[in-house]
C-alpha cells in the first residue's frame, strides 16, 4: 500500500514535469518575442538573447512605426476580420438552424453538399476567386477580402448545426404552441443556449482571418487595404537582418489574438474540444 502511494507520487511528479516542459515550450516563443521587442538591436543574438529587457525601450516600436504604416495594417485587418466574424455569426446561425431543426425538401442532399466542400483545399478556389474579383473590378478593395468569407463556411455551419441538435426540441415546441415564430425562437431560445459554440465560432473565424496570408497576398497590392500578414511578410523581405524592427512587428501581430483568447478562454477551451466529438 505504502509503496503504491509512493509510486503514484513519483508518477504524479513525472506528469507535472512533462506538463511543465510542454507549457514552457508553448509560451516561450511569445515571451521571448515580447521581451525582445523592448531590447536594443545589439542584444538580440547569441548569449544575450536570453537577457530580460531591462531597462525596456520603446525605440524599436518608434522606428517600426516611422518606417511602416503598422497602424494602417492593424486597422485594415481589424475591419476585415471584424466584418467577416459578425457576418459569419449571423449567417451561420441562420443556416445551422434551418439544417438542424426545419424540415424542408432538399435538406439532406444540400447538407451533404456543404460537408463535401469541406475537403476542397483553399488554393483550388483562390485562382478562380481572383478571376471573379477582377471581373467585378474588386481586386485591391476590402470587398475582395470580405465577400468570399462573410457568408459563412461549411465548417462553421457544421459546427453550429451539431450543437443545435444537442438542444432539447421540447423547448421550441412549447414556444411554438405559444405562437412564437422561427425568428423569435432563434433569438430567444437558440442564441442564449448557444453562447459557447458561438464564442468558439467567433474566435476561430477571427483567428483564421487575422492570420490568413494567401488570399490577401493575391487580392491586395496597395497600402490602403494591406493587412498585417502581408505587411509583416513584406517587412521580413525588406529588413531580413534587422531583428529590432521585425520582432516588435511580430509581437504586434501576435498579441491581439492572445488578448482576445484570454478574454473568452472559459468558453473556448471547452467547446473547441466538443467540436471534435459528435
Amino acid at each position: 500500500m505504502a509503496t503504491k502511494r509512493i509510486g503514484r507520487r513519483v508518477n504524479g511528479t513525472t506528469v507535472y514535469l512533462l506538463l511543465a516542459v510542454g507549457g514552457l515550450v508553448s509560451i516561450a516563443p511569445y515571451l521571448m518575442t515580447l521581451n525582445a521587442a523592448f531590447k536594443p538591436q545589439s542584444t538580440l543574438l547569441s548569449t544575450q538573447a536570453w537577457t530580460p529587457a531591462v531597462p525596456a525601450t520603446w525605440s524599436n516600436f518608434t522606428q517600426l512605426w516611422q518606417q511602416y504604416d503598422m497602424s494602417g495594417f492593424i486597422v485594415h485587418t481589424t475591419i476585415v476580420a471584424g466584418v467577416i466574424t459578425i457576418g459569419q455569426l449571423v449567417f451561420t446561425t441562420m443556416a445551422a438552424y434551418a439544417f438542424a431543426r426545419l424540415d424542408f425538401p432538399g435538406r439532406e442532399p444540400l447538407f451533404w453538399a456543404f460537408i463535401a466542400m469541406m475537403m476542397v483545399p483553399q488554393i483550388v478556389t483562390l485562382i478562380p476567386l481572383f478571376l471573379i474579383m477582377s471581373h467585378l473590378q474588386l481586386i485591391d478593395t476590402y470587398r475582395a477580402l470580405i465577400l468570399p468569407y462573410v457568408f459563412g463556411t461549411p465548417y462553421g455551419i457544421f459546427l453550429v448545426r451539431q450543437y443545435f441538435q444537442t438542444i432539447p426540441a421540447d423547448l421550441e415546441a412549447a414556444a411554438r404552441i405559444d405562437g412564437a415564430g422561427t425568428w423569435a425562437i432563434l433569438r430567444r431560445i437558440m442564441l442564449p443556449l448557444s453562447k459557447p459554440i458561438l464564442a468558439t465560432l467567433a474566435t476561430i473565424t477571427f483567428v483564421n482571418t487575422w492570420n490568413s496570408l494567401l488570399w490577401p497576398l493575391m487580392a491586395t497590392s496597395s497600402e490602403r487595404d494591406e493587412v498585417v500578414t502581408v505587411g509583416v511578410a513584406a517587412l521580413q523581405g525588406q529588413f531580413a537582418s534587422e531583428l529590432h524592427i521585425l520582432l516588435p512587428a511580430a509581437a504586434v501581430a501576435l498579441l491581439p489574438l492572445v488578448a482576445i483568447f484570454l478574454l473568452f478562454q472559459r468558453h473556448i477551451v471547452r467547446s473547441i474540444a466538443l467540436t471534435g466529438l459528435k
Binding site: 449571423v90 443556416a95 424540415d103 485562382i127
Partner: protein, 313 residues
C-alpha cells in the same frame, strides 16, 4: 423534428390536409430564407470557383489578357514537369515530418492531463495558446531562433559542445525547421481533441480490465487506443488536410529554397500563378493537390471505418 411536433400540436384539432400542406410550404419557405445568405456564399464563392478551376485548367491565362483554350496541354505538362512532382514529394515529406510527431506528443500530453489534478484547466489554456499564433509572425520568430551561428538554437547546441548546422540554408534541415513551426503550433490544439476523447471513455471499462489482471500497457493498447479512434480519426483527417496546404511559413522563411527543397505544392501553385503568370497551369496543379488530399482522406475513412464503431450522422 421540432417543426413536426409543433405542426401536430397546432393542426391536430382541425386536422385538414390543406392546412398541413400550407404549414409545410411555410416551413420550407422559412428554411430557404434562413439559408439564403449561406447558400449564396456557398454557390458564388465555393461551388462556382470549383467549377471554374476545372474550366481554367483547359486554358492558358496570364491573369491579364483573356484566357486561351489549350485543351489538355496543362495536364500533359503537369505529368512531365519534374518540378511539380518534386513539390508534391516535398509536401508529402512535410506532412510525414509533422503529423506523426505532433500526434504522438499530443497523445502524451492528453494522457498526462487526463486525471483529476490541480491546474489542469490552466495547462489546457497554456497549451492552446500556440494555435492562434500568426504563421507569418512565427516565420519571423523562427528565423531569429534558427539564425546560423548566433541564433538561440545554435547557441544552445554550442553550449553542449557541438556546432549547429546552417539550418535554413541547408537542403537537409530547412524542411524539418519549417515542420517544427507546425508541430509547435498544433500539438496543444490536437491534444484538446484527444483529451476530450479520453474523457469520453467510461471508467468502468478500465475497472473491469484491471479486475481481469491486465497491466497498464495492455490497457493502453487494448482499451485506450481503440476507444480513442473517433477522436484520432477527426484529428488526423483535419490535420493532414491542413498540412497538405502549407504555404505561410515557407513564404516567409525560405521562399521554397534552398534550391527547391522547401517548395510545397501550395507554394509552387502560388509561384506559377502570381510570379510566372501561368494561371491556367496553376489551376491544373491545384486540381492535382485536391485529388491527392481527396485520396488520402478516403484512405483514412476506409481504414478507420473498418475498425471503428462510430455514428457519423
Amino acid at each position: 423534428m421540432s417543426a413536426n411536433i409543433a405542426e401536430a400540436a397546432t393542426s391536430a384539432p382541425v386536422a385538414t390536409g390543406s392546412r398541413a400542406r400550407s404549414r409545410r410550404t411555410r416551413t420550407a419557405f422559412e428554411a430557404y430564407l434562413l439559408l439564403a445568405p449561406s447558400l449564396f456564399g456557398f454557390l458564388a464563392f465555393l461551388v462556382a470557383p470549383v467549377v471554374i478551376v476545372f474550366v481554367l485548367s483547359l486554358f492558358s491565362w496570364n491573369l491579364i489578357t483573356s484566357p486561351q483554350f489549350v485543351g489538355l496541354a496543362n495536364y500533359r505538362r503537369m505529368f512531365t514537369d519534374s518540378q511539380s512532382w518534386h513539390a508534391l514529394l516535398n509536401t508529402a515529406y512535410y506532412v510525414l515530418l509533422n503529423i506523426p510527431l505532433q500526434t504522438v506528443l499530443a497523445l502524451l500530453l492528453a494522457l498526462a492531463l487526463n486525471r483529476k489534478m490541480r491546474g489542469s484547466k490552466f495547462f489546457r489554456v497554456i497549451f492552446v495558446l500556440p494555435w492562434m499564433a500568426m504563421p507569418v509572425a512565427l516565420g519571423v520568430i523562427w528565423n531569429w531562433f534558427f539564425d546560423p551561428r548566433s541564433g538561440i538554437i545554435d547557441h544552445f547546441i554550442s553550449m553542449l559542445g557541438f556546432t549547429g548546422p546552417n539550418w535554413l540554408t541547408s537542403t537537409t534541415w530547412a524542411m524539418p525547421v519549417i515542420a517544427s513551426v507546425n508541430v509547435w503550433q498544433y500539438t496543444g490544439y490536437t491534444m484538446l481533441f484527444l483529451l476530450a476523447g479520453l474523457q469520453a471513455i467510461p471508467q468502468q471499462v478500465y475497472e473491469a480490465a484491471a479486475i481481469d489482471g491486465t497491466n497498464a500497457l495492455q490497457r493502453f493498447f487494448r482499451i485506450t487506443l481503440p476507444l480513442l479512434r473517433p477522436s484520432m480519426f477527426f484529428v488526423l483527417v483535419t490535420n493532414i488536410i491542413g498540412s497538405f496546404q502549407q504555404f505561410d511559413t515557407v513564404y516567409v522563411m525560405t521562399q521554397g529554397g534552398p534550391g527547391q527543397s522547401t517548395t510545397t505544392m501550395n507554394y509552387y501553385i502560388y509561384q506559377q500563378a502570381f510570379q510566372l503568370f501561368h494561371a491556367g497551369y496553376a489551376a491544373t496543379l491545384s486540381i492535382l493537390l485536391f485529388a491527392v488530399i481527396l485520396l488520402v482522406t478516403i484512405v483514412q475513412f476506409r481504414y478507420f471505418r473498418k475498425r471503428t464503431i462510430y455514428d457519423f450522422s
